[in-house]
Amino acid sequence: MNFLNLSFGELLGLAGIVSAGIVALYLLDRTKRKQVVATLRFWTAGKLPEELKHKRRVHQPWSLLLQIVSMILLLLAIAGPRFGDLGTSRDHVLLLDTSAWMGARARQGILLDQAKNAALVYVNSLPLLDRVMLVRADALATPVTQFESNKSAVADAIRRSRPSTSALNLEQALEFAQQAQKLQSQKAGEIVFVGAARIPKQENEIAVPANLRVISIPSNGENVGLRKLGVRRAATGVDSWEAFVELRNDGQKAREITLLLQFAGTAAGSKTMTLAAGSETQATFVFQAKKAGLLEARVTSTNGRGDAFPQDDTAVIEVPIGKPLRVAVYSPEPDLLKPLLAGNPQVEATFDLPAKFDAQAAADIVVFDRFVPKEAPQSAASIWIEPPAGSPFAIRSTAANVKLQQWHQETALGAGLYSKDVDLAATQVFNLAPGDRAVADTAQGPVVVERAGAVKMAALGFDPVRSAMKYDLATPLLMANLLRWMAPEVFRRSDVQAGTVGTVNVALDKGVNPAAIKVLGDDQRPLPFTVESNSLRFFAGAPGNVHVVTGDRETVYSLTLPDVGDTAWRPPANAARGIRRGAMAESAPLNPWPWLALAGGLGLLADWLLYGRSRIVRLTPRAASLSLVERLRWRKAS
């Protein structure tokens, strides 16, 4: 005997509580009620029964017994007892393929619709007591229900399933199903896979459980789609961008397609190509973009054949245009520094005499050449060249005809500078304050100093363009290091790539410090990732943008393309296929809850008819008083 969620002991306990409640209410109903009345003359005149001496005595034991029995019958009906052989019930795991490919077109609707219908047929064919756990299988195996005997709940969960954007990870789904049966089932049944089973190429054969049943959903498979779309700045010009597109033909036949690229609604290029069956190809486009905009790649079939999976025919990414670096130069000879700054297209430099200094001017970096302002800028970084007294840097001495002996490679400003024995006709030698780092040294002391902090500063004891370094390669490199150190975000290389949802592999540059790598989601929350032999791997389960920052390089992955498996999985020959027939013919246990409910209801009705009805039916007071008035109506004597 099975009481669903109640053990027999729990049922007895519940019945005892209900019975005690009924008895208590019964006795409470019969406690004496205190009442103040206008007179006692009519009460005594009615020859009423004598006072009852035992207050707690049960006056209508049959009524009480009938009520208790009826309530227990109703309780049993709610518990849903079942009689019969319950040992044959089994627990099945239903793996419903909800990968992106299940959104492909079918004869009617999409593939997932056919899979849902097949899954519903399978669930309905199971014996009444068998339990089913529904698991939606895509890149992850997500259980939707527990082992559930309520078939309608499982059917509702099946109907609510939608195709995801990730590829099917069949091996993981099968492992999950076996684990669920091992840990949670009472008697393991089948593991049923329903879907098209399009999976990525596997090096090893997938190990399948012995109790696997496969209900295959046939798919057309003729599909050409985009796999990647990336964009980065081209080396050919300031406004030039390079876009690369990767396509694949998943079908069984060669396809002639047209690849169209649009930027900001304007055609940026197109190519017509023929893709062999199962092949991949790449195409590269160069286009001009001065402002940010959307770059769209679209693939269309030129020979008019239908595409089974149109979701991967279009990819859109946003081309970022970074903000320029604003540099304000205040120098008695402003033209001297122009060649150093004007050559960089990412720098917008202004050159003025010190008399025109404006502390409120909008600038990211301010260069003070032999000039100390009355009011230093609060937020902008600053470069001090030969600073006079009153600057933030303390000058130890002024030296003449000295040689620059060393660049400190470990500093950000000295990295990559190797010039030695440069003659400096005149230079200032600085005292290092706490937090200062020497970038270049002479025998007298540091002549180039960097100061990190909330506002970065650097000081040069000599003017590179007015010294012997003017024609040295170290001069533009030093300026480049200064700008990059003070505004790294401007010079960070940024790539944008459109990819597929799921696992993403990123090839890292050599020498990248894994501790400096950041993988951030759209909301700037860090995502978990792994680094293994110059390869970064992370997983995105839902469409969105992921930012991968590695040092001075940022790559934005616009993961909007659906991840489609490469090949259709072929189940092993020993796996059962299709839907088992004749399952409903198995004997179902007896479930007498309607009869119990009916008996309980009849018992309560009988109690009400025999004992309770007379307490309820009353004359309404108003009608009673009016009837008396009518009876006593006075008649005139005349």
């Binding site: 004496k32 009345v37 206008a38 009460w43 004598e50 006072e51 007071p621 006075w634 004597a637």
Partner: protein
């Protein structure tokens, strides 16, 4: 409580002006009322002629008839006396039962009825004696002379407090000695006196008073709604009794109550009076213009 503290609201007062208290006996009273009398006297309405006798008022001689017939006839006029109306209101503790759930207690109901009867009497220029009673007669309120005197009646009724037990025998004896002049007695009560009220009421009429009995009861007085074991307490005497109550007992109770009401009615009708039985669940207006008009207490 009605607006302006008058116990009954103004629209009902306006309707009450159409009514007049009726009685059947010819009672003596001071001239000036609106009530007709079988006695001839100094009134305005012509009643009859009679032979002139020595000493009659010459102003009442019909001189036209004398000129034509050469005989002196005297015109007689209908007397319109101002009859004393005495309203006895029961203020015993038994009148406090039966209130709640939107219904008035018998005490409040009786005060409203008394106010209505006083207003009707005042409009007809009758003399009003408002007399509360329980164990004995309380201090009366004497009024007369028109509707503008109604406010003291309302104030007086509102100031009444319930208390004591009903003793009709003592009340009747006291009433007869205090009011020797015959008049109309309106008794508003539940008439619940353990010693019985039938004989005292009989004495009242034996002394020439005309009686209108307004029997007020709560619904639970007539048909108790309770079931099972009851611990009952008499509101006036405090006597307790415990009993079991069921449908059969309820039927016996109702029968006893109805017999009691019937006996009261017989006492009233047997002595030329009138009886009106009212439940507190009947609105005051409906009670006055329904059962009381049908019973002939007011017209």
């Amino acid at each position: 409580m009605a607006e302006n503290g008058l116990l009954i609201d103004t629209p009902l007062l306006e309707k009450l002006e159409r009514l007049a208290i009726q009685w059947q006996k010819s009672l003596p009273g001071v001239v000036g009322g609106h009530n007709t009398s079988r006695s001839a006297g100094a009134g305005q309405e012509f009643l009859d002629h009679r032979q002139f006798h020595h000493g009659d008022d010459l102003r009442a001689v019909n001189w036209r008839a004398y000129l034509r017939l050469e005989k002196m006839f005297l015109k007689m006029f209908q007397l319109e006396p101002r009859i004393p109306v005495r309203v006895l209101v029961d203020v015993s503790r038994s009148m406090t039962t039966g209130g709640g759930k939107g219904a008035l207690s018998k005490f409040d109901y009786a005060r409203k009825l008394a106010a209505a009867m006083c207003y009707v009497a005042l409009v007809r220029l009758d003399s009003i004696y408002l007399q509360p009673f329980a164990e004995k007669l309380g201090d009366p309120l004497r009024l007369g002379g028109g509707r503008q005197r109604f406010q003291p009646v309302a104030n007086y009724l509102q100031a009444l407090k319930p208390g004591g037990s009903t003793k009709f025998f003592d009340i009747t004896r006291d009433f007869i000695s205090r009011y020797p002049q015959r008049g109309l007695v309106i008794v508003i009560s539940d008439f619940l006196d353990d010693a019985g009220c039938e004989k005292p009421l009989q004495y009242l009429t034996d002394f020439g008073h005309e009686m209108i009995l307004i029997h007020v009861w709560a619904d639970e007085d007539r048909e108790p709604p309770w079931d099972g074991e009851l611990d009952l307490e008499d509101a006036e005497s405090g006597t307790r009794v415990q009993l079991a109550f069921d449908d059969a007992a309820r039927a016996s109770y109702v029968t006893a109550f109805d017999e009691f009401a019937l006996e009261l009615r017989n006492v009233a009708l047997r002595n030329g009076g009138r009886y009106v039985g009212l439940s507190t669940s009947i609105p005051i207006e409906e009670a006055i213009f329904g059962p009381m008009v049908r019973a002939g207490a007011v017209q």
